[in-house]
Structure formats: C-alpha cells, structure tokens
C-alpha cells in the first residue's frame, strides 16, 4: 500500500480520520465521488484546502440521495451557508453522520435538524405536514395529513406546547427500534 496519492497531505488525512468515522481509503474514495459531481469545479489536488463548494443541484443527483424525499433538507442541514452548497468538509461530515458506525445521539441531532424545516429548533405542525407530504408524495388527502400530524404531535409532545422540542424528539426516537438502521446511507 504505497502513499502514491497526491490529493491530501498526511496531516489532512489524519485530521479527517480523527473527525469522521471513515478510514483513509474511504476518504479518498469520497473525494473521488465528490469530484465526479463537478469535475471542472473540484481540483484533484486538495493539499492547500481550496474553498470550493458544489451546489445543491449537483449534490442531489447522487444515486444515494436521488430518491430520498428529504434530500434537499439533508444537504441544507450539513451545508455551512444553509443553502445546500457543500464544501468537501461538509460532504464528508454528512456521510460520516449518516454512516453505520455513527452513534445514535449524533444521528438524532441531525435527524431533528433535517425535519425542522423552518429552523426554529422546534418541529412544529407545519414542519410535520411537510414531512408527511414528502413521505407519502401527496397520496393522502389534506384532512388525513392534518389528522396524522395531530396524532403524531399528540403522541410525542411531552411538555404540552403542541410542537416537538429536541428532548421530545429524542425521547420518541429512543423508543423506535429501527431508527438506527433506517437512518443510514451507505456510500
């Protein structure tokens, strides 16, 4: 296994390995995938940390995210500017949080951020309605959507403010048996 790669310096790779749940090989592979999205934009040589961001529209063409109804929200959550333009660091962070070895607490934090559409640190009824609509792609009638949202809030809301704070959400997720296996993107 020779150190033939010139994409990253050793310190960079070490830093990535420390901050994320990926190995060296996986980080290099991720860089390849990142570059694939916009080959003219992303340089092969990342040793001097260029400030390149790939826009949202290109990121959501990835096959792992293409069919996901929450793809826009996922990319927006992990982007620094909040508009969905990911630098390579954000890109790696995103897939690291969604990978298999990522712990439950981290996934819960990010899940909450993803489902919070208006970014007010609460999942209110409108956020829920958007979620349900994205999940069922408009197959439920509006009354049914309202009913589902009311029931969901009723079940999970423990402090009685008719919206879900992070602790409510966390409490509900802790009882869900397949959250960890479902909230997992394989790259």
């Amino acid at each position: 296994m020779g150190n033939k790669q010139t994409t990253f310096t050793e310190e960079q790779l070490e830093a990535y390995q420390d901050c994320t749940f990926f190995t060296r090989k996986e980080i290099l592979r991720l860089h390849g995938r990142y570059r694939e999205l916009a080959p003219h934009l992303v340089p092969l040589d990342y040793t001097n940390n260029p400030d390149i961001r790939v826009p949202l529209t290109l990121i959501v063409t990835m096959p792992e995210l293409k069919e996901n109804p929450f793809r826009d929200r996922i990319v927006e959550t992990f982007s620094e500017d909040g508009q969905g333009n990911l630098s390579f660091n954000d890109f790696v962070d995103m897939f690291s949080a969604l990978c298999e070895t990522s712990p439950r607490e981290l996934k819960t934090i990010y899940a909450f951020k993803i489902y919070d559409f208006n970014r007010d640190n609460f999942i209110c009824k409108q956020d829920l309605e958007k979620t349900v609509n994205k999940l069922t792609k408009g197959e439920l009638s509006p009354e049914e959507v309202t009913l589902v949202c009311d029931k969901a809030i009723e079940e999970a809301d423990l402090d009685g403010d008719s919206k879900l704070s992070f602790s409510d959400f966390e409490n509900m997720i802790s009882k869900a048996p397949d959250f960890l296996s479902n909230f997992h993107v394989r790259i």
């Binding site: 589902v148 969901a152 479902n182």
Partner: protein, 567 residues
C-alpha cells in the same frame, strides 16, 4: 440444502416492504419442509428400507381360511400405450399402484435371524404412530416459541410519530424500491386512518341504519352458508361419480371441485365482506371460515370414501369391488397432493407472470388491473390443507412425506420469486407477532383431523389381499400378538407399566408437568424480555426528566437574573 433455505425479507432494508406477515409465512413454510423431510427419514429408516432389504428374505404369515380378494395383483397385462404411463403417474394407478408408494405393496414379512428379528408390520404401525406424535411435539415446540412474542405483545404498531419519523429507510436505493417504500408507508398510515374513520362512522350511525346493516349482514351470512353447503354437496357427488369410470378428468373430479370451491367461496366471502364494510380484523375471521371449508371438504372426501369402503354394510353386493381399500385411500390423497401442487404452479405461471409482464409494459392497464397482492392468510391455509392431506394419507402412502417435502421446497422458491417480481405490499397489514402462533393453531386442527382418520383406520378391518396387515382382524392387533412373543419378564414388566394403577397417574402427572414446564419457560422468557424493556425505558425516561429539570432551572436562573437586573 434445506438449512440454506433463506427466508426472504429478513434484512432490515426490505423488512417493511411487504410486512411482517410475509416473513411469518416463509418461516412457517420452512418449518413444514424440515418437518416433512425428517418424517420421511424416519419412515424410510424403519419401514421402506427394511421392506426393500427383506423383501426376498423372511417368511409370510399364512392363514388357512380362504376368502374373497386373496389375490391382489394390479399389474397391467399386455401392451401398454405410452400415454397410459402418464395417466398412471398422475393418478397413482397401474405401474405406480403396485410399488413402494402405496400400502398394498408392503408384505407382512417377519425376519427371524439368530440374534436379529424385525417385524415389518409392527414397525409400520409404530412408525406411523410415532410420526404423528413427533409432528405434534414439533408443532407444540414451535407454538411455545411463538407464544413468547404474543405474551409480551411485541412492538407497538400503528404509532404515528414513529412511522412518520423513522419509517423512511434512508438506504433505500433505486426507483422501484423507493416507490414500494412510499406505498408501504402510505398503506401503514392508511390502515390506522381507516380504522379511525370507521370507528367514527360506526359511532355515528342512527338506529335505522344499524338495523339495516345488521339485517344485511345476517342475509349475507345465510348466502355464504348456502354456498358452502352447495360446495360440499358438489364434492360429495363428484367423489361418488368418479368411482368405477376411467379417464383422468373424472379421476380428478373431487380435487377439481375442492379447489374450485376453495377459490370461489373465500372470494365471494371477500366481496360480501366488502359490501358489509368489515374491518380488516373481521376479514381474518372470514379467513378462518376458509380454513374450516378446506378441512371439512377434506372430511367430506374421506366420508364418501368410507361409505364406499364399507359398501354401506352390503359386502356381498356386486358394486363392492375394492380389494385393497388402503391403496385406494392412499391414491386419493396422492392425487389431492399432486393436484394442489400443479394448481399452485399453474396459478403462478399463468396468472402472476403475465400480470408482471403487463405491469412492466403498460402502465395504464396495470393501474386498472392492480398489482397482484401477496395475501398471507389464503396462502397459509393452502399450506395447512396440503399438510393435512399428507398426514391423512401417510399411513397408506409411505412415500407421501417425501413427495410433500419436494412440493413445499419448490413452492418456497417459486413463491419467493413471485414475491419479489410481481407483488406489491399487501393492503391489509398483518400483525406478525400473532401470526406464527395462529398458523400453528390452525395446523393443529389439521393434525387433529388426520389423527381421527388414523385411529379409525387402525381399528377397522384391513384388506385380506394386500398390505402388511393382511390376516389380522385389525391393524392394532399386531401389537398384542407380538407382545406375547416377548420374554416372560418383559411381559410382566410391561403389564405392570400398562396397568391402570400405574399408567394413568403417570400419564396425568407427565401431562401436568409438561404443561407447567412450558408455562414456566414462556413466562421466564417474557420476564427477561420485559425486564430488558423496562431497563431501557427507565434509562430513557430518567435522561429526559433530568434534561427537563436542567432546562427549567436554567430558565429560572435567567428570570431571576433578569429580575435582579431590573431591580
């Protein structure tokens, strides 16, 4: 090979595509394949192989009083046209009749060597009895295992927030899988929504509407009942009609009528249920009705056979020509099994495969027809029916468990292929925690019916001309006969064990002990599961409360600080 049978939909990425009921179906089918295979090994070891080995060796027990039907030789004479072989293969007559497949071929040989003696009739009888006991033990063992899940209730189904937030599998790739997943989530939500709206509607009915609804239900009940009676009568007539006339269709007439009845009546009941707007749980009860239909239709066939065997008391009439009635019964069971298998394969190939092609080529037509659903209850009932037929016929057709093993094995893989290529997730989600237990209870009904048949056959007069029990007044009488051949001390010991003073308390005690052991193990498992759940819950709740306290105290401090600043 059997151990490698992979039950589909076990992986987490696909487990919610089709619902847990499908998984239970395939687990059940795998259990049946293993059961049949092990029973076949049992029968082969104790009956078939000794029969083959000792066919030429050994002496026949002779009887001095000649009677009718002493000669049994159904081998065909003269030239045989080729298609007759095919007919014989399908109906178990001709060259297949006088073979190891059926009871009539086995001799009542008793081998007596220096240190070794083997009594084939005794082995045959004991193997049959042990086979039934073994199947019962297996079913009860599986049932106790499934009971644990029922006792602890399983995970909460219908929890809206959980479906909304954790329902989507982020690892879901591909257009088709995504669409399926969406449909599945939609259905899961809809099942609960439907239940809610139905309850609301039911509560809002006026008295007049209620009366109309109930009278409609009673009327439909009568219609369904009438249809079932009609189906039974048809089976009865068909079985009577098929005797004494050659021709494949006529031979298969009972099977055809049963299968037609089994298709039509549940279909009609389904339509009726739709009319009456029953909830999904009530349609499960309709499925139970189909169970009884299938098993009792089998009972009707047996009844007609019985009336022919006993010739309705008239042994000297010209119509009574059954020389080897056991082979006749074995043939009927063999035909039922074969026909059931052929129909299943035919339905898969001729109905579901074209539907898949239609789906792939023309979206509009597919939307109109709708994709084939994998309906778990009716498939399970098909399995239970097939297994009951095999149990009933095993005494008369020793190779039937082997045929059934092959049949279920092929069925497993074809259903698996059908599931993944054709079917969409079932509309009515089937709770998987209770379903395995339910399947085994139904299987137990079938076992009961087969046991009744076996016990009855042991008690009536076997044929004179064929089989290992000729010259005995009943099949069971071989046991006392060979008993007196044992040594004196063994006889006394067995007498003591068998005496009422000893055996009845022992039997009662062992039954009670078994019951309590099973109960204790089930409760022990439930306790362990509940304890684990409690620990998890407690930890989570504690964490939540601690966080709340922190939050509140922080807010209190902030408001105090603000009040202090204002002052």
């Amino acid at each position: 090979q059997v151990q490698q049978m992979q039950v589909p939909v076990v992986s987490s990425t696909e487990s919610w595509n089709f619902g847990g009921g499908v998984q239970s179906y395939f687990l059940f089918l795998r259990f049946l394949v293993v059961l049949n295979f092990v029973s076949f090994l049992l029968i082969a070891a104790f009956v078939i192989i000794p029969s083959i080995v000792f066919r030429s060796v050994g002496s026949n027990l002779a009887n001095s009083t000649p009677e009718d039907c002493m000669e049994y030789n159904p081998n065909p004479q003269g030239l045989e046209v080729f298609y007759n072989y095919f007919l014989d293969l399908l109906s178990g007559t001709g060259f297949m009749e006088y073979s190891y497949l059926f009871y009539g071929y086995y001799n009542n040989t008793m081998v007596e060597d220096r240190n070794f003696s083997y009594n084939i009739p005794l082995a045959y009888l004991f193997t049959a009895v042990f086979y039934f006991a073994f199947c019962l033990i297996c079913i009860i063992a599986m049932g106790t295992a499934a009971r644990v899940a029922v006792a602890t209730g399983g995970s909460a189904v219908g929890n809206y927030s959980m479906i909304v937030f954790t329902g989507w599998d982020f690892g879901c790739l591909g257009d088709r899988a995504t669409r399926l997943k969406q449909k599945n989530i939609h259905y899961r939500l809809q099942v609960d929504l439907e239940e809610e709206s139905r309850n609301k509607r039911a509560a809002a009915l006026t008295l007049c509407q209620k009366i109309v609804l109930y009278s409609l239900r009673i009327f439909m009940g009568f219609v369904a009942f009438g249809l079932i009676i009609g189906a039974f009568y048809g089976i009865f007539e068909a079985t009577n009609f098929s005797q004494g006339i050659l021709g494949l269709i006529i031979e298969y007439l009972p099977s055809i009528v049963i299968t037609a009845g089994n298709f039509m009546v549940p279909l009609l009941c389904d339509q009726i249920a739709l009319v009456e707007r029953y909830s999904p749980s009530t349609t499960i009860i309709v499925a139970l009705l189909a169970v009884f239909l299938r098993l009792v239709s089998l009972g009707v066939i047996l009844f007609t056979l019985w009336s022919q065997i006993t010739c309705e008391g008239n042994t000297s009439s010209g119509d009574c020509e059954l020389c080897c009635w056991e082979t006749r019964v074995g043939q009927e069971m063999y035909k039922l099994t074969l026909f059931d298998f052929l129909i299943n394969i035919a339905v898969l190939v001729l109905v579901e495969f074209p539907r898949m092609l239609v789906d792939n080529w023309s979206n509009k037509l597919a939307q109109w027809l709708g994709r084939q659903e994998f309906v778990v209850p009716s498939n399970v009932l098909g399995l239970v029916y097939g297994q009951t037929v095999v149990w009933t016929g095993a005494l008369f057709c020793p190779l039937l468990p082997l045929i059934n093993t092959i049949k279920f094995f092929i069925l497993f893989y074809s259903k698996k292929i059908t599931l993944f290529n054709n079917c969409r997730p079932a509309l009515k989600t089937f709770r998987s925690t209770t379903s395995t237990f339910f399947f085994l209870v139904v299987l137990l009904f079938g076992w009961g019916l087969a046991t009744v048949v076996m016990v009855y056959s042991l008690a009536i007069h076997p044929s004179m001309g064929c089989g290992p029990f000729r010259f005995f007044p009943t099949m069971w009488s071989i046991v006392p006969t060979s008993f007196y051949n044992l040594s004196k001390t063994t006889q006394e010991f067995l007498f003591f064990i068998g005496s009422q003073a000893f055996s009845i308390p022992l039997f009662a005690l062992s039954v009670v002990m078994c019951y309590f052991i099973a109960l204790a193990s089930v409760y022990g498992k439930s306790v362990a599961l509940l304890r684990a759940q409690l620990k998890l819950q407690e930890g989570c709740d504690k964490k939540f409360l601690v966080k709340q306290i922190e939050e509140l105290s922080r807010q209190l401090q902030i408001s105090k600080h603000n009040a202090g600043v204002q002052d």
